[in-house]
Every structure is written in C-alpha cells, then in structure tokens.
C-alpha cells in the first residue's frame, strides 16, 4: 500500500506508523524531517514551503513505486507539509514497513534522498534580517 499526502496541516508520526503497520512486517523505519533553528550559524526564524502540487504528488508516488520495486515493501507512507513552519515542526515523514529491518532502513533512506532531488517542493528560510530560497544558487 502506498500512501502519499501533501498537507497544509501538521503532520502526525502516529498516523504514518498506523498506515504502514502490517502483520507480515518485522520492521518499520520512520524518517522525520524537522525545521532546524539555524543554517551555517545563522538563526532561522521560520520556513516557508511551497509546491507544484499535482507534480509533487506524482513524483512522491513515483518514489514510492520505485522503492516498492527495489525492496520487499509491505507499506510505504510519504507525507510532506507545505505552508509556514515554525522551528521544530515536522516538514516530512517517510514510513516504510518490510519483513526485515535492513530493507526498511534502505528504502527509507532512498525515499528521502530521492525526494530531496526530484519532488517540486521549495523552501524559503526566513532569517531575522532577510530570506533565501534554499539551494537555488550554487
């Protein structure tokens, strides 16, 4: 089962865990990405995420499908938040259940690494004295 969500409301780890639990799963790996309070020593006030929604959803789905082809995944959930996020809030959750733990770790890492490369979501860091689109410039 693949569960993809792009949400404007706070993400819930418990909900993702519930979605991926499976009787045949011996391991569940969950990655939670949160908003850090600084970038290279500079204090971050908040983050603003925006997305090209239809494509963000289809690209997240592709990642889940590719992961399912590569590893024996029972269930995978990818939930991403958009909008304004305060320090410590959850930006992304990836949960994967597999029969044995190794595959769940690997699939989860693959999913978050690929998400950061392909999914059309952009974050802007807001500092006390300005703002910057993350990774826009080399």
């Amino acid at each position: 089962m693949i569960d993809i969500q792009l949400l404007h409301t706070p993400l819930q780890v418990e909900k993702c865990l519930k979605r991926v639990r499976h009787p045949a799963a011996g391991g569940i790996d969950i990655f939670v990405g949160t908003v850090r309070d600084q970038t290279r020593g500079k204090k971050v006030v908040r983050l603003e995420f925006e997305s090209y929604e239809p494509m963000a959803i289809s690209e997240m789905k592709k990642i889940a499908e590719r992961a399912t082809e590569k590893w024996p995944i029972q269930n995978i959930a990818i939930h991403h938040r958009v909008g304004t996020l305060e320090i410590g809030e959850i930006a992304v959750i990836i949960a994967v259940s597999t029969p044995h733990r190794k595959a769940s770790f690997e699939a989860c890492q693959f999913a978050i690494d690929t998400l950061k490369e392909t999914v059309p979501i952009w974050k802007k860091e807001i500092f006390e004295d300005g703002e910057v689109w993350v990774a826009a410039h080399p």
């Binding site: 963000a56 930006a91 490369e117 974050k123 410039h137 080399p138």
Partner: protein
C-alpha cells in the same frame, strides 16, 4: 505562439509573478524555450539548475511544446 508558464520558488521572484505569458516560435522545443527564457531573464543563468516540466512531468530538451501545454519552471528543489 504564446505559451502560459507557471513559476515557483526563486523563479517566481525573478519573473515577478507566479504566472506569465511568453512568445515562442511554433515548433520550439524545451531546450529552445529555456534558451529564450535565459536571454530574457539573465538571473536564470545564476541558478544551480533550471528544469522545465510540461504537463506535470520533467521534460527533455527535445520535447516539442504545444500551445495548450502547462509549462512550469522548476528551480533547484529543496523539500524534505
């Protein structure tokens, strides 16, 4: 022909809005569109990358653009 383009992230700041119209020659491909956009908006060349999506899929440079396509500028993504 006139195409309708959506901009996100830093490209929105560069073009000064989230949508704009752009004139290209009939039969132009994505690579040609990108070149014209970079001429019109030199700040695009400073970006780490600039991809173009057509109808919600990453498009190759060779893809020929049709007037009704939904064209989207994809600067470096930074989700997660």
């Amino acid at each position: 022909m006139k195409v309708h383009i959506l901009a996100f992230g830093i490209t929105k700041d560069i073009v000064g809005g989230s949508t704009f119209e752009f004139q290209i020659e009939e039969g132009s491909n994505v690579g040609q569109l990108k070149k014209h956009l970079q001429q019109q908006y030199p700040a695009f060349e400073d970006l780490a990358s600039l991809a173009i999506a057509v109808n919600s899929e990453y498009a190759s440079e060779e893809l020929v653009i049709k007037a009704a396509d939904e064209i989207v500028l994809i600067p470096p993504v930074s989700g997660g």
